[in-house]
């Protein structure tokens, strides 16, 4: 893990944790010099708590992958993972900041627009990353798959990610009710977990190349 990436991840986690703590302290009257807040927005508070936790889990996961030496990941793979995490950090900090603002100010917002916007962003992110993923160089060392196996698998992963990303953008724009996006998101999550297991199987230490 590069020092720059570590700094970005730690700064994002600290910023989001402080935002969540500040909102909770204010909501519970622990900041008496500020005017008391109104009733809490349960959905916003849920996002405030979980945003830093989700990101921390993702950062730990990415950090372990970056530090892996069985097999040792390539430089292009390292750049890909760190780039993904930087975009992820910016996205989750923005989302948490938005919901903190909504919770504190009591502002109303068009929930449908936010859900659709987030789904479109996620879909585009998956499409761009799926396209680039296919170009990642193979790992080396113990557990590294043969270059041909790696290339074919990554191209297949890339196509799946691009198809899912474009599908998500399409459904986010055309489904009449944004709640209908839930099964689409669950399907994407299931496929992402399956791809991760496939990656682990492919790079298992000790397997023949």
């Amino acid at each position: 893990m590069s020092r720059a990436f570590k700094h970005v991840a730690i700064a994002a986690i600290i910023e989001m944790t402080l935002v969540a703590l500040a909102v909770f302290a204010w909501r519970r009257g622990l900041l008496p010099w500020l005017p008391a807040g109104g009733p809490a927005n349960v959905r916003a508070e849920f996002i405030l708590i979980w945003a830093p936790a989700w990101f921390a889990v993702g950062a730990v996961f990415a950090g372990r992958r970056l530090a892996s030496d069985r097999p040792r990941i390539s430089d292009s793979h390292r750049r890909f993972l760190e780039g993904s995490m930087r975009v992820g950090a910016a996205f989750i900090v923005a989302i948490q900041g938005f919901f903190a603002y909504v919770d504190v100010s009591g502002a109303t917002f068009n929930r449908e627009l936010v859900v659709r916007g987030a789904a479109v962003f996620l879909g585009l992110w998956m499409t761009i990353h799926g396209n680039a993923a296919a170009k990642i160089d193979p790992p080396s060392g113990d557990g590294a798959p043969a270059a041909g196996i790696w290339t074919r698998a990554l191209l297949r992963f890339g196509w799946i990610m691009v198809a899912l990303g474009l599908g998500l953008v399409f459904f986010a724009l055309v489904l009449p009710d944004p709640r209908q996006l839930r099964p689409v998101m669950i399907a994407i999550l299931v496929v992402a977990v399956a791809l991760e297991f496939e990656y682990r199987r492919m790079t298992r230490p000790g397997r023949p190349a």
Partner: protein
């Protein structure tokens, strides 16, 4: 992107990419599939490398090429193949009587 289009416009280079889809190959293994001069093959490899469609790993004296396609480039390759681009015109780097690979 111009480099990618240029690289994919030639049927020999597309055939090289299709061969590399199976497995990485040395320059010699690839050249064995084409009845063309070594220099012509080198020019094709150079165009593909400039477009970042293949990567070259040097092992001693031999160079092993492997595929390095993004999803969009893979789609363009399939599209160019389906249209048969470049079959009617000679390749700019190929001056031999190259048969279709």
């Amino acid at each position: 992107m111009n480099r990618v289009f240029k690289a994919l416009s030639d049927p020999t280079r597309r055939r090289i990419l299709q061969l590399l889809r199976e497995r990485p190959m040395t320059a010699g293994e690839l050249a064995a599939h084409f009845p063309v001069h070594k220099a012509t093959m080198s020019a094709h490899f150079s165009v593909l490398r400039d477009a970042d469609l293949i990567a070259a790993d040097k092992n001693g004296k031999s160079i092993t090429y492997r595929l390095r396609l993004s999803v969009v480039e893979d789609a363009l390759l399939a599209f160019a193949d389906s249209l048969g681009l470049g079959f009617s015109t000679p390749s700019p780097v190929d001056n031999s009587n190259e048969e279709e690979a």
